[in-house]
């Protein structure tokens, strides 16, 4: 895989790498993609894709109101917060 392609992908995945890491990833990804190209050997014309194994579709429940998790519990792990919400660096 081209290094430039790896950079593009990193952007999509919201990751950044040092130049050395980029080279290493380009190599690793190339090896892994060589390995996964093996699937091309199989004819899958007309075979439906399986997203999961249970066969269940749209598992729904009654829309019954119930208490949500207490706000304090939800905020417990926040890296930065005030009494009522999460604080993040400026957006605009």
């Amino acid at each position: 895989m081209e290094r430039k392609q790896v950079e593009e992908l990193a952007k999509l995945a919201k990751l950044e790498f040092t130049p050395e890491e980029l080279d290493r990833f380009a190599g690793d990804m190339g090896d892994i993609l060589g390995f996964v190209d093996k699937l091309g050997e199989l004819d899958t014309t007309g075979v439906p894709p399986a997203a999961h194994v249970s066969g269940a579709v749209n598992v729904l429940r009654e829309d019954v109101p119930r208490p949500s998790m207490p706000r304090e519990d939800v905020l417990m792990g926040a890296p930065e917060r005030d009494e009522s919400g999460f604080i993040i660096p400026r957006v605009i």
Binding site: V6, L9, A10, L12, A13, K14, L15, E16, F17, F25, D28, M29, D31, I32, L33, F35, V36, K38, L39, G40, E41, L42, T44, V47, P48, P49, A50, A51, H52, V53, S54, A56, V59, R61, M69, D73, V74, M76, G77, A78, P79, E80, F86, I88, P89, R90, V91
Partner: protein, 491 residues
């Protein structure tokens, strides 16, 4: 015999008769952890006081005649399963200081039994690995030989059970993460049918493949744990709502006339001869019990590993998008805007293997590649499910190796992802098809290292799979495995 050496079912009798208390049992286990973990590193967090408090409660329950089969039994919990208020790291810097605000479903059910949580077991970071070398909290060592890996990703759970620093443990299995380390550490491990155990509170890796299950030193103990944690749960939409427990009560299954398939692809190239021989020897044991063993074929087995890495990486890249430094988990300091905060938090918080999988997943899901990789992998998944279905028309269960090799030396594969991935070739197809599979020891290889075999059954045949394992265990000399000495030599 020391208290830490007992199995869960033996402890149950001792606890119920009042011969031992839950408190002294918990103390014995905590001492064993203190004595072995400097070598093994099987735990990320040890719950000293909290465990003793739970044990006190268990003693009250026992006295009152309350509590389940696991009342007072000390359990190790893989560190990707949430316990309210207990640090749950997924062996990642990303969650180094994460204290979940809720219990996983399996934890709620174990609590109701009165079992005692010893601590959080070490693992590969986000369960991505086959050797427990990718943990942010250091590698885990195999109790049978400290220079070797315990397998992964539930390597801490497996090492703890093997060494007697847990009586039983809970792990998770996405592509073999319970069964492969069970094999390398010489213990029993089970991945139940997909949907049998609720994934609520299990930190997601690849949701269509992840399943919680037990590791133990006997098949009966596995059945006891499953009896506790199998229950329909509406908070996991893939949960089997009418799942039946009662596995321990159904352990006695006659092997006479049972048809056992030995798929030749599992005994082929890449599988060590000593492993092959040990599993074929186990097949003879089944024959001596009246089962009929026959070679068969699962032609797509070799494609399962490829399909697995595509599907699991795609799901992982999507599941791990939630780690953005906003609500919980690691946040990089000093970012000038939110975008920089996302990128730096993720880049500093995740380790190399996790990033590799996120990148692969992002790639196979991206426009232009989706059909060639992700959709293709899902189609292959359908074909593999059909292959298994055809085999189960002919056979009651399949018998295979659990790992192509015994435990390898630490560091031997960590820089070669493809060689590492090959370690899962025996276990991955089972996750692809959502089947139940039990791994248990069936011999020793060179250096006295444990060899494991795998019993695979059709979906929802968990009781049969356990029964077959139990029958083998009895026929092969019966009874419980005892903890190994942790010294560096052979166990």
């Amino acid at each position: 015999m020391q208290l830490y050496e007992y199995t869960a079912h033996e402890l149950r009798s001792l606890l119920r008769s009042g011969e031992v208390s839950a408190a002294e049992t918990a103390r014995a286990l905590l001492e064993r952890i203190a004595g072995t973990d400097p070598q093994l590193n099987a735990y990320i967090t040890v719950l000293g006081d909290a465990a003793l408090e739970q044990a006190g409660e268990a003693d009250r329950m026992l006295k009152a005649g309350d509590g389940g089969a696991l009342c007072g039994v000390p359990v190790g919990i893989k560190d990707n399963i949430c316990i309210r208020g207990v640090r749950t790291t997924c062996a990642s810097r990303m969650l180094e200081n994460f204290f979940p605000p809720y219990d996983a479903n399996a934890i709620e059910l174990l609590r109701a039994q009165g079992s005692v949580f010893l601590g959080k077991c070490n693992m590969d970071e986000f369960a991505m690995g086959s050797s427990t070398e990718t943990s942010y909290f250091g590698t885990v060592r195999n109790p049978h030989d400290l220079s070797r890996v315990p397998g992964g990703s539930s390597g801490g759970s497996a090492a703890a059970v093997a060494a007697g620093s847990a009586v039983v443990a809970i792990g998770s299995d996405t592509g073999g993460s319970i069964r492969q380390p069970a094999s390398l550490c010489g213990v029993v491990g089970m991945k139940p049918t997909y949907g049998m155990v609720s994934r609520y509170g299990l930190i997601a890796f690849a949701s269509s493949l992840d399943q919680i299950g037990p590791l133990a030193r006997s098949v009966r103990d596995c059945a006891m744990v499953l009896d506790a944690i199998v229950k329909g749960d509406s908070r996991d939409t893939t949960s089997i709502m009418d799942a039946q427990d009662g596995f321990e009560a159904r352990l006695n299954i006659d092997m006479k006339g049972k048809r056992v398939g030995l798929p030749r692809e599992y005994f082929a190239q890449g599988v060590d001869e000593e492993v092959r021989d040990a599993v074929l020897e186990a097949a003879k044991t089944f024959e001596s019990m009246g089962a009929v063993c026959e070679e068969c074929s699962l032609p797509l087995a070799e494609y399962a590993l490829v399909a697995y890495y595509l599907v699991s990486s795609a799901e992982a890249s999507s599941n791990l998008a939630r780690y953005d430094g906003v609500r919980y988990g690691y946040r990089a300091h000093g970012a000038k805007d939110h975008e920089e905060m996302f990128v730096r938090s993720r880049s500093e918080g995740f380790g190399r293997e996790v990033k590799r999988r996120i990148m692969l997943g992002a790639y196979v899901l991206s426009a232009g590649y989706y059909d060639a990789y992700y959709k293709k992998a899902q189609q292959v998944r359908t074909l593999i499910m059909r292959d298994y279905a055809a085999l189960f028309n002919k056979y009651d269960f399949l018998l295979t190796p659990a790992s192509p090799t015994t435990a390898w030396k630490e560091g031997a594969r960590i820089d070669d992802p493809l060689r590492m991935y090959a370690a899962d070739m025996c276990t991955v197809p089972v996750n692809i098809a959502g089947l139940p599979a039990l791994v248990l020891p069936c011999g020793r290889g060179e250096g006295g290292l444990p060899i494991g075999m795998q019993i695979i059954g059709p979906a929802r045949s968990d009781a049969l799979v356990l029964g077959a394992g139990y029958a083998y265990e009895q026929a092969a000399g019966g009874g419980a495995l005892r903890p190994v000495d942790v010294g560096g030599g052979q166990g």
